[in-house]
C-alpha cells in the first residue's frame, strides 16, 4: 500500500475554497449522474421502485375496497331493517314493539371502522383484526371473537403493501447502488487519480453518494406520489396530505440511514464483495431478525392469556347463567301457575335471556380485559425495543401514520365495547321495565361513529422513531466521513 493515510481538507481551506469549488461539485454530480445512467442503474431504480410501490398500493386498495363494500352493505341492511321495524312498531306489530325480540334476536348494528386516508399504503393488522363488529344487545363475547374467513397461508406470509416495499426492498436498492461506493473507486484506482488531480477524497465520495441519493430519493418520491394516487389517498385534505408528507419523510430518512450505513461500511478498507456481504448481513439483522426477535420477546414476556382457557371459562359462565335462568323460570312458573306447561310469555323469556347475557358478560369482562392489558404491554415493549432496528422503527411509524397498526384497531375495539354498553342498555332498560318500543325509539337508536384518536397521539408514536432514524443517520454518516478523511486511497 504505497499511499498513506490522506488528510482531509482542513476546515479553513474548505470554507475558503467553497466558492471556487461549488461549480466543480455541481459538475461532478452531473458527471456521476451521467455515469449512473450509463450503468443503467438509475432508470432501473426508478422503474423498479415505481412499479413495486404502485402495484403494492393497488393491492392495498383492492383489499380496502372489499372491506368498504362489505361495510356499506351491512350498514344498508341494518338501516333497512330499522326502517321496517319502525314502520311495524307504528302499526303496533307485537315483535317490533318488544325490546326483547328486537334487541336480542332481530336487530344488530354493524360498528364499522372507516378506512384511514393512508390505509391502502400499509395494511398492517388490517386484514387480520376485524374492521367491523356486528353489535347486538347480547354480550360482547358473541361478536368479539369473529374474524373474516381468510386464506391462512396468505396471512402467514404477510402483505405486499407499500410499507413492505419501503421497509424491506428500499434498503436493497440503496445497497445495490452504494455497497461499493468507495471500495470500487479504490479497487480501480480512480480515487487515487482523482485525489492526485486535486479533488478532496471526502468531496469526491460525497459527490458519488449524493448522485445515488438523488436517484433513489427522486425515484422514491415520484413512486410514492404515484402510489398515493393509485391508493386513492385524498391529497386535497390535511388528513391525507400531512400523514403522506410524514410518510415521505420517514421513507427518505430510512433510505438515508441505509446510505449512511453503506458509507460507514465503505469507510474501512475492505473489498467490495466483503462490503456487500456485510450490508446483506445488516439488512438481514435489521429488517428480518430484530423485528422477529422483538415480536418473540414481546409475546413471551407479556404472553396473551390463553384463548383455550377463555373458551372453557365462557362455557362455565354460560352454564352458571343457564342454571340461574332455569331457577328464574321455575320461580316464574311458581308465580304464574296458570302458565305451567305452556311457554313463558315473551317478555319474561327475554328478561331471562337479558339477565343471562348480562351475567355472562360480567363474568367474561375481566378475562377479556386481560387480553387488552397484555396487548398494551406488548405494544409498550415493542415501542421501546423498536429502537434496536431502523426496520422496526420505520414500519411502526409507517403503519401508525397509515392508521393500520394494532393501536388504532384496539382503540376501535374499545369504542365498540363502549357503544355496545349503550346499545344493549337501550333495549335492556325498557325490557326490564316491561315497556315497549315506539317509532320514536327507533329514531333515537344509538349510532356508532368511530372517533379517530387525536393526531397528536399518532404523531407521538411516529415521531420519536423518525427522530431516532435521523440521529442514527447523522451518527453513522459522521463517523464514516471522519474515517474517510484518514482513508488510504489506493
Amino acid at each position: 500500500m504505497s499511499a498513506g493515510a490522506l488528510d482531509g481538507v482542513s476546515p479553513g481551506a474548505a470554507a475558503g475554497g467553497r466558492e471556487r469549488r461549488a461549480p466543480a461539485t455541481g459538475a461532478r454530480l452531473r458527471q456521476e449522474l451521467h455515469l449512473l445512467r450509463r450503468e443503467g442503474l438509475a432508470p432501473w431504480a426508478l422503474v423498479a421502485l415505481t412499479l413495486l410501490l404502485v402495484a403494492a398500493a393497488l393491492n392495498g386498495r383492492a383489499l380496502l375496497g372489499v372491506q368498504a363494500r362489505t361495510a356499506a352493505a351491512l350498514e344498508d341492511e341494518a338501516a333497512q331493517t330499522t326502517r321496517a321495524l319502525a314502520e311495524q312498531a307504528g302499526r303496533g306489530v307485537a315483535t317490533a314493539v318488544s325490546p326483547g325480540v328486537v334487541g336480542y334476536s332481530v336487530l344488530g348494528e354493524p360498528a364499522v371502522l372507516p378506512a384511514s386516508p393512508l390505509g391502502a399504503l400499509a395494511i398492517g393488522q388490517g386484514d387480520l383484526l376485524p374492521a367491523w363488529y356486528p353489535v347486538t344487545a347480547r354480550g360482547p363475547h358473541h361478536f368479539l371473537a369473529r374474524s373474516e374467513p381468510e386464506n391462512p397461508l396468505r396471512l402467514s406470509i404477510g402483505n405486499f403493501d407499500a410499507a413492505f416495499v419501503i421497509v424491506w426492498l428500499l434498503p436493497l436498492v440503496v445497497i445495490a447502488l452504494s455497497f461499493n461506493v468507495v471500495s470500487a473507486e479504490r479497487e480501480r484506482g480512480v480515487l487515487a487519480v482523482a485525489v492526485a488531480a486535486g479533488a478532496s477524497p471526502v468531496g469526491f465520495i460525497l459527490g458519488k453518494v449524493a448522485a445515488r441519493a438523488l436517484v433513489v430519493f427522486g425515484s422514491l418520491w415520484i413512486a410514492l406520489l404515484a402510489a398515493a394516487l393509485a391508493a386513492g389517498v385524498p391529497l386535497g385534505s390535511a388528513a391525507g396530505l400531512l400523514p403522506l408528507l410524514l410518510w415521505l419523510a420517514g421513507a427518505t430518512l430510512y433510505g438515508a440511514f441505509w446510505f449512511a450505513l453503506a458509507l460507514f461500511v465503505n469507510a474501512r478498507p475492505r473489498a467490495s464483495d466483503q462490503n456487500a456481504s456485510l450490508l446483506a448481513g445488516a439488512w438481514l439483522l435489521l429488517v428480518i431478525l430484530l423485528p422477529a426477535l422483538t415480536n418473540l420477546a414481546a409475546t413471551t414476556v407479556f404472553a396473551a392469556p390463553s384463548r383455550v382457557a377463555l373458551t372453557t371459562e365462557l362455557r362455565e359462565a354460560s352454564e352458571a347463567a343457564d342454571r340461574a335462568a332455569a331457577a328464574s323460570r321455575d320461580k316464574y312458573f311458581f308465580d304464574h301457575p296458570e302458565m305451567q306447561g305452556g311457554d313463558m310469555d315473551r317478555t319474561a323469556y327475554f328478561q331471562s335471556v337479558a339477565q343471562s347475557e348480562l351475567s355472562i358478560s360480567e363474568a367474561m369482562a375481566p378475562l377479556l380485559a386481560q387480553f387488552d392489558v397484555q396487548a398494551r404491554r406488548q405494544q409498550g415493549l415493542v415501542e421501546v425495543l423498536q429502537f434496536l432496528s431502523p426496520g422496526t422503527m420505520t414500519w411502526q411509524s409507517l403503519t401508525a401514520l397509515a392508521g393500520s397498526d394494532g393501536a388504532r384497531l384496539r382503540e376501535f375495539r374499545a369504542q365498540v365495547l363502549a357503544f355496545h354498553a349503550r346499545w344493549s342498555g337501550f333495549f335492556r332498560d325498557p325490557l326490564m321495565r316491561g315497556a315497549t318500543l315506539t317509532p320514536a325509539d327507533y329514531a333515537a337508536l344509538p349510532q356508532f361513529a368511530f372517533q379517530e384518536p387525536p393526531l397528536g397521539r399518532t404523531l407521538a408514536r411516529a415521531l420519536p422513531a423518525l427522530a431516532m432514524l435521523l440521529a442514527l443517520t447523522l451518527l453513522l454518516g459522521g463517523i464514516a466521513l471522519r474515517r474517510l478523511r484518514r482513508f488510504p486511497v489506493a
Partner: protein, 491 residues
C-alpha cells in the same frame, strides 16, 4: 478476449480412480478452508444461536399448548358428561368443543398455525368456524415472519451457503490459481464436484449440532412416531441446500468477478425468499377473493330457508310424517310410538349439513384457487416449494387444519344423530319435558383428533417436490454446461 476454454480432458478408464482421488483432494481442501475461515465459523455460531432461540421458544410453546389443549379437551368432556338431566336437544345446543392438539413437528415449522383457529364449537344445526387464532394476540411485528427453525433453514442457511460459495471459482480465477489447478491435471468437472462436496460437507458438519439437537428433542417429546416425517423433512431441506450450493457454484464459475457473482446471488436470494412469496400470495387474493363473512352468512341463511333439494325442508318433514303415519297405521302424530320432533331435527340437520357443505366448499375452493396461484409461483421460487413441503410434513399446513376441521365436523354430525335419535326413540311426540341423563352423555363418544398418515402429506407434496427436483435437474445441467466451458482467466 483472454478467457480461454478449459482443456477438454477425455475420461479414460485408467483415470477413474485418479479422478475420484482428485475430487477428494479438492473436497478436503475446501472443507478445511471453510472450517478454518473465521467468518464461516462466526456465521455458523450466529445460525446455531438463532436456531437454539427458535428451538427453545417453539419447544416451550409446544409443551404449553399441548398440555393446555389436552386439559381443555378433558375438561370440556367432563362438562359434557356432567351437564345433568336435560332434553337431548338442549344438550345439542349446549354442544361440545373440539381442540386441535399441537403436533410435535410444529416446533420445527409452525406453518400456518398462528393464523388458524384452535377450537371449534360443535353445536346443533350449525357448522362453526375454528376460533382463537394465536396471531390475533401477537404484535403487528408478527407479520414480519416468525423466527422458527423452519425459517432458519429456509432463509438463513441458504444465505450462509451463498456467502460460503460465491467466490469459490471467481476468486481462484481472479488470483490466477484456477489456471494452476487445471494445469495440475484436475478437470473443471472434478473441481466443481470437489468444491460442492467440500463446502456441502462443511455446512453439514457446522449444522450437525443443531440438527441432532432437533432430532433429540423430537424423540424425547414424542418417541419415534414422527421420525419418518422428520427424516423426510431432512431430505427435502438437504435437497434445497444442494440446490442453493449448485446455484452458487455455477454462478461463481460463470460470473466475471466475485462481486458480480455475489450481487446476483444476493438479489436472487432476497427475491425468492421474501419478495415472490408475498406477491404470489396477494396475487392469489386479487384473482380469487375469499367470500366475506357477510357473503357467507347470507348465502347460508338463504339456502337454509329453501333447502338445496327440489323439496323444501317443510315439504320433506310433511312427507316423512305421512310415511310414518302410514307405517305405524295411525292417524295422528301423538299416536306414533316415537317422538316425531326427533325426526324433524334429523331432517333439519340433513338440510343444514348440505347447506354448510356447499358454502364451506365455496370458501375452500376460493382458498384453493389462491393456493394454486401460490403453488404455480413455486416455479419462480424454489424456497416457496420447500416451504410448502415443510408445512405438509410438519403437519402444520392449511390441509392439516382442514383435516382437523372436517374431523370435528364429522364428530358433530354423529353426535347430533345420536341425540336426535334418542329423542325420537325414547320419548313421544309432544312430550316437551323429556329429559336424558348422564347415561346418554357418556354414550355419545369423545372427540379425538387423529393426525393424518405421512403418505397423505407426501401425496400433497408431490407438486412442490416435482418443482424442487426440476430446479435441481436444471441446475445440474447448468453446472455441467458451465464446467464444460469454464473460463480460466479473469477478464
Amino acid at each position: 478476449m483472454n478467457a480461454a476454454a478449459a482443456p477438454a480432458v477425455a475420461p479414460s478408464p485408467a483415470a477413474g480412480a485418479g479422478a475420484a482421488r482428485r475430487v477428494a483432494i479438492v473436497a478436503r481442501k475446501e472443507l478445511r478452508g471453510a472450517l478454518r475461515d473465521g467468518r464461516v465459523l462466526a456465521g455458523a455460531c450466529v445460525l446455531l444461536l438463532l436456531g437454539m432461540v427458535a428451538l427453545a421458544s417453539a419447544g416451550a410453546r409446544y409443551a404449553n399448548v399441548s398440555r393446555e389443549r389436552a386439559v381443555a379437551q378433558a375438561l370440556i368432556q367432563e362438562q359434557w358428561t356432567q351437564q345433568g338431566e336435560k332434553n337431548p336437544h338442549s344438550a345439542a345446543h349446549y354442544g361440545i368443543y373440539a381442540f386441535r392438539p399441537a403436533l410435535p413437528l410444529s416446533f420445527f415449522d409452525p406453518g400456518v398455525l398462528s393464523y388458524e383457529g384452535v377450537s371449534i364449537w360443535l353445536e346443533a344445526h350449525k357448522r362453526n368456524f375454528a376460533a382463537g387464532r394465536p396471531a390475533d394476540d401477537m404484535t403487528a411485528l408478527a407479520r414480519f415472519g416468525e423466527l422458527s427453525l423452519g425459517f432458519v433453514f429456509q432463509a438463513l442457511v441458504p444465505l450462509g451457503l451463498l456467502l460460503m460459495a460465491y467466490a469459490a471459482f471467481s476468486s481462484e480465477r481472479e488470483s490466477g490459481t484456477l489456471r494452476q489447478l487445471l494445469a495440475s491435471g484436475v478437470t473443471p468437472a472434478q473441481l466443481f464436484v470437489g468444491k460442492f462436496l467440500g463446502l456441502g460437507g462443511a455446512a453439514l458438519l457446522l449444522l450437525a449440532p443443531l440438527l441432532l439437537l432437533c432430532l433429540g428433542v423430537l424423540v424425547v417429546a414424542s418417541g419415534t412416531t414422527w421420525l419418518p416425517a422428520a427424516l423426510a423433512l431432512l431430505v427435502a431441506y438437504a435437497g434445497y441446500g444442494a440446490l442453493v450450493l449448485l446455484l452458487a457454484l455455477t454462478v461463481s464459475a460463470r460470473a466475471s468477478t466475485s462481486q458480480a457473482a455475489l450481487l446476483v446471488l444476493l438479489a436472487f436470494w432476497a427475491v425468492i425468499t421474501f419478495v415472490v412469496p408475498r406477491i404470489a400470495a396477494d396475487l392469489g387474493r386479487v384473482l380469487q377473493p375469499t367470500p366475506t363473512l357477510g357473503d357467507f352468512q347470507r348465502g347460508v341463511d338463504a339456502d337454509l330457508a329453501t333447502g338445496l333439494g327440489r323439496e323444501s325442508p317443510a315439504a320433506q318433514v310433511e312427507k316423512r310424517r305421512e310415511q310414518l303415519l302410514k307405517l305405524y297405521k295411525v292417524e295422528r302424530e301423538q299416536d306414533l310410538p316415537i317422538n316425531f320432533q326427533g325426526i324433524v331435527f334429523g331432517i333439519q340437520d340433513e338440510v343444514s349439513n348440505a347447506v354448510y357443505d356447499k358454502h364451506f366448499g365455496i370458501l375452500e375452493r376460493a382458498v384453493d384457487a389462491q393456493v394454486d396461484v401460490f403453488e404455480a409461483a413455486t416455479v419462480l421460487s424454489p424456497r416457496m416449494a420447500l416451504a410448502m413441503i415443510s408445512q405438509e410434513l410438519a403437519g402444520t399446513s392449511l390441509q392439516h387444519q382442514r383435516h382437523f376441521e372436517r374431523g370435528a365436523e364429522a364428530f358433530r354430525r354423529r353426535l347430533m344423530d345420536i341425540l336426535n335419535r334418542d329423542i325420537a326413540m325414547n320419548s313421544r311426540s309432544g312430550q316437551a319435558d323429556y329429559r336424558a341423563g348422564p347415561d346418554l352423555w357418556r354414550n355419545t363418544g369423545e372427540y379425538r383428533f387423529e393426525p393424518e398418515p405421512l403418505r397423505a402429506s407426501l401425496a400433497r407434496s408431490a407438486a412442490p417436490l416435482t418443482v424442487l427436483v426440476l430446479w435441481l435437474a436444471v441446475l445440474v445441467g447448468a453446472s455441467i454446461a458451465t464446467t464444460r466451458r469454464l473460463r480460466v482467466l479473469a477478464t
